[in-house]
């Protein structure tokens, strides 16, 4: 069953019949994680890099920000039995406007924050499709960990 992850939301599942989907990523980033041993998957659709912008919103909706959403995503999959060592991470999104001066650089800052967090925690990114000016829809098939990105009518597997 398709489970849709809205903006500023995350979901995890251990039901192999589930596919986690997030639509229309702009400068937001979709993070998909999957543990092949226990077949537990999770997906996060965060919109901004830092929770310091609005600590009260971060409390209410941790998935809104990279620095609160990413730890929350991992913790939620651990609860379903996933192990940090086994988890495979794939990311997509972080688009930009045609912006030579980088004034609206939320996409870039979203990506930098993600790299920083993963680096600090020793987590490798297995695959990524980040940047450009595309809108992306991503899917994680929890039965086999297949992660696909649909953009401008074509679907590719990462």
């Amino acid at each position: 069953m398709d489970k849709i992850i809205d903006i500023a939301d995350l979901q995890v599942t251990d039901d192999p019949r589930d596919t986690l989907v997030t639509y229309s990523l702009g400068s937001c980033i979709g993070v998909a994680i999957w543990d092949p041993k226990v077949r537990v998957g999770g997906m996060l659709h965060y919109m901004l890099p830092e929770s310091s912008l609005s600590p009260e919103k971060a409390k209410e909706k941790p998935a809104m920000f990279a620095d609160t959403g990413i730890p929350a995503l991992f913790r939620a999959t651990y609860k379903l039995g996933a192990g940090k060592k086994n988890i495979i991470v794939k990311v997509a999104g972080g688009s930009q406007l045609l912006d030579d001066n980088g004034v609206f650089n939320i996409g870039k800052r979203n990506y930098i924050m993600l790299r920083k967090l993963f680096w600090k925690n020793g987590i490798l990114i297995e695959g990524e499709d980040v940047g450009g000016s595309l809108s992306r829809t991503v899917r994680l098939d929890v039965s086999n960990g297949r992660f696909t990105i649909k953009s401008r009518g074509t679907e590719t597997e990462l």
Binding site: D6, I7, A8, S24, L25, G26, S27, C28, M47, L48, L53, S54, K57, M64, G93, S95, Q96, L97, L98, D99, D100, N101, V103, F104, N105, I106, G107, S133, L134, S135, S151, R152, G153
Partner: protein, 290 residues
């Protein structure tokens, strides 16, 4: 088919905006208007009145007593909320249909338009603009040209997207290059046909290039910023994605920084989710074809 005359014909055949909406915009644009003026404008339109009351009485607002009149609705929810409801009801049918050329499924253009309307209102408040009421409507209608241009874009999509990906054109420039006109010009024509206030026509025409207006207009900058935030947040994106040019001067001349954009982005998402819940629960969901 791709002649300007063809487009002009289609614009003249487009369904008119209801009288209530036009009068309402006039009243909204007049700073001396009173609550009574506004109620007078809406109350003769029974369909709209009943929809407003139905929405107000939905469990969503959680009001403790039944709202039975427009006056009541204005007092319970505030004038601006009621005005926004009326405009959203009026444009729902037209904007909710699928726009295949842009890769927008049913409901997606309406969602984007409402989000830009909400964000425009928030920016207008942030900038203390005197015509904040118009900002909502201008935001709601900024992409109205897509409703007509959609079919033309569908036919020439491969050429348009080639210009975007290979020649690094913005989508709106590629539309103009391939078709001879873009959704902003067509939108401007529709707005003129509807006799909308000049301020709104200008917002529709310049919402991708606000600094081309000399002198710049605060309402146009507002709609530009609102659209930019919604594109970045991915609200109702189509195949054109984020392929639009950034205008670095707008933030500077309005004295705003990235945190302002982000905070308004958050607020927009929260308000949009409320509006979507409201319409899902109470309004007709079925999109109406053009």
């Amino acid at each position: 088919m791709n002649s300007l005359q063809d487009i002009v014909d289609r614009v003249s055949a487009i369904q008119p905006l209801p009288d209530t909406a036009l009068k309402l915009m006039e009243v909204m644009g007049d700073p001396t208007s009173t609550l009574d003026n506004i109620v007078d404008t809406i109350k003769y339109d029974q369909a709209v009145t009943s929809q407003v009351l139905k929405l107000c009485n939905s469990s969503f607002f959680g009001l403790s007593r039944k709202v039975t009149s427009l006056n009541d609705a204005m007092l319970c929810l505030g004038t601006i909320k009621v005005l926004q409801l009326v405009m959203s009801i009026h444009t729902n049918n037209m904007l909710a249909s699928e726009q295949k050329g842009y890769g927008l499924e049913p409901g997606v253009l309406w969602k984007h338009s409402v989000a830009v309307a909400l964000a425009s209102s928030l920016f207008a408040q942030r900038l203390s603009l005197p015509n904040a009421d118009l900002a909502f409507t201008a935001g709601l209608l900024h992409d109205i040209g897509k409703v007509i241009l959609n079919e033309y874009v569908a036919q020439e999509f491969a050429r348009i997207i080639h210009k975007v990906t290979e020649d690094h054109m913005a989508f709106v420039e590629a539309e103009r290059h391939v078709l001879g006109f873009s959704h902003v010009e067509v939108g401007g024509m529709i707005a003129e046909k509807w006799k909308l206030p000049d301020a709104i026509v200008q917002c529709i025409r310049f919402h991708h290039v606000p600094s081309e207006l000399n002198p710049p207009e605060s309402l146009v900058d507002t709609v530009y910023l609102a659209n930019t935030v919604c594109l970045l947040m991915g609200i109702g994106l189509g195949e054109d994605g984020l392929s639009y040019r950034a205008d670095p001067q707008v933030l500077e001349r309005r004295g705003l920084g990235e945190h302002d954009l982000e905070l308004i982005g958050i607020q927009t998402i929260i308000e949009l989710q409320r509006v979507e819940q409201l319409f899902d629960r109470t309004a007709e969901k079925k999109p109406v074809a053009q």
